[in-house]
Amino acid sequence: MTETAAPAQKSGIRMTGAFHRLLAFSGLIALVVVFSLASPNFMQTQNILAILQATAVNGVLAIAVTLVIITGGIDLSVGTLMTFCAVIAGVFLTYWGLPMPIGILGAILAGAASGLISGTVVAKLKVPPFIATLGMMLILKGLSLVISGTRPIYFNDTPGFNQIALGSVVGQIIPAVPVPNGVMILFLVALLTAFILGKTALGRYTFALGSNEEAVRLSGVNVDRWKIGVYALSGAIVGVGGVLIASRLNSAQPALGQGYELEAIAAVVIGGTSLSGGRGTVLGTLIGALIISVLANGLRILSVAQEWQTVVTGTIIILAVYADILRRRKL
């Protein structure tokens, strides 16, 4: 009897997961349909690529935050950390003239190191994640300004640096779909993170920590170590985001960054990840980030004033979470 009941239950769980993604996904489809009906310019290849390009940085940051949020934490430092990593890349490449791969690696390691610090402060010093990462946000903002002397660092001496985000390897192979590298990097980061979340012990503990940290601790698991690991991984992903934004602007802009963390968190929430932890998907976050970009792009095409765009985005966030609450109430 147990055996016959098993398949039904399995599909039941899959269905709730699928529905979950469906909700955000159908929201995205609805937006695309509405905007393409409203304006013929929306569905142009150029515009679609622009939307994807605009999603790349926020998408990577949102994936980084997703990891931390699934553990039941929050990370407010991803925006200024992104800038900090960009500045580090600038220091390595422009100031010191090191080869490009070293600069990229330096940016990613700087991100991981910052995550290591945030994670240590949260896990060992028991400072609430909100406070710990709020502090890190300000520290990193200040450091970026100090290191760069408050001036942008340009990558003019590093030929090909701007191709990291703007070039298109895909376009060289299939000229009809010149998907920018930045977008491909976003997809790679998404795939890798989804793999880690789904297939490794680190991923399993990420969910377990958000589900019931005390139960994990009482299972004899070294909770602190894993938690720090999650923050470090998240920081490394932000480092990738730092390289992307630096490449796209062909410069590290030290004053940039603040505000990106909220947009990233918005994408995570719209994508159905629970802020109380234990639940969330990379795919959902990706869709959430796309919804935000599509919305911004579509409203701009319809000549809606930029001031109103943020009003709409805010409303969407509240509606998305409310829809999720309704769905969970039904379960």
């Binding site: 147990t2 991923g203 399993r204 377990a208 589900s211 019931n212 601790r217 299972s219």
Partner: protein, 518 residues
Amino acid sequence: MEGSTVDVAARAVPLVQMRNIDKSFPGVRALSQAQFELMPGEVHALMGENGAGKSTLMKVLSGVYDRDAGEVLLDGKAVEITSPREAQDAGISIIHQELALMRDLTAAQNIFIGREPRRFGILDERQLNRDTAAIFKSMNLNLEPTVLVETLTIAKQQMVEIAKALSYRSRVLIMDEPTAALNDAEIAELFAIINRLKAEGVGIVYISHKMDEIKRISDRVTVMRDGEYVGTVPAAETPIETIISMMVGRTLNTEAHAIPDTSGQPVALEVKGLNRGREIRDVSFSVRQGEILGFAGLMGAGRTEVARAIFGADHKDSGEIWVHGERVGITAPRDAVSKGIGYLSEDRKLFGLATGMDVRNNIALASLERFTNPAGVLDEAGMEKSARDYIRQLSIKTPSDTQEARLLSGGNQQKVVIAKWLLRDCDILIFDEPTRGIDVGAKSEIYKLLNNLAAQGKAIIVISSELPEILRLSHRIAVMCEGRLTGILPGDASQEEIMRLATMREAAMRPDAERKIA
């Protein structure tokens, strides 16, 4: 002198009379024909084992619960009390075990919360403090009204609670385990205030497990058992043995269990001189392989604290832990687990299960590293196989290993946690209230499982507040009271022997203490 008001009971009109009170919760009969009486100026102790119905009866009196049947009389007149607010208006106050004060407010602000004196719509802080000072003075309590509650000791906080009750002109004061967190000097202070209230005609219901206190402070003792009234006796004249046998009363119909001789088995776990604040005081014991050691005691005796300290879940002040003859340093649960110790918490939802995750992942939760291949990828197939093995072995009732753990029944959740430890190769298992919240049928299945585990050579500690459970399972029984191990009894000990050790407090440590009080 303290017992002299007993004869008052013969003349005056009782302050409170509760007659033939019935109260049922879904599936449980909490009170059946319960009764209680309180005279003005009387301290009336209410006693009984855990779950005897003391708290339920007092919650009926204080309007928290509606009764199903019976009557309540105040000053000889029948009353209907349907909410805590009405109870308060009628002069009945309850002082809970967990104090309900707002720590960031002052004593005065706490006492008059919700009915602050006002002038022209603005809070009149001076009047507030004057009123509070007057109450403190009447209690002969040396305390500033403006002191912040969080800076007060538990004892002083309790005094503030009492002052709050008095501010409602309460004539009936219900105290639930008021001395649980107090030291001897503070208890003396509390008793002085109780005596002063007595003199003013306030009636006090005193719920406690502690025999020596009952003898010291109360006039009469009412004993309850299984939701029923057993009897009322004068406190001073009645021997402790009589009260204990009233509390235990029922003859058990559990089959006599076979107690295997494990004295030849090697010692699996030995604890020497364990201390932690006031909660654990110099506890030493050992468990052999294949042995089930029961831990009996009343609420707050420190049994869970001992388990958590051994397991490294809480810090310990001092003490040695030896596993299989080797001294081990345990500062975190992972140390204990690596030595083969597993702990099954009394609150599975809070501490035992990742309820949002499925059965398979909960079983594997302590062993994920074992299921990780060199490339760092989880061996999902291996996890599934192990989970299914244990689902079959422990007959866990679940549609599949991917069922969410929270959807399982209590008994099956417990088995999932057991499976987690077995998979992790734990051979010393500490069960804290293993059958709490589990229905009767599933209970005997858990008992059978524990016996099997012992037969396989696991060393098992069972903490239980249910004496029948302790008596049915244990090969030996350790009894705790007030953080101390007051004795270790053979598995065929009587309930009376256990209750005696569970209520003996420091009397056991100082044989002359009882005499001095009497």
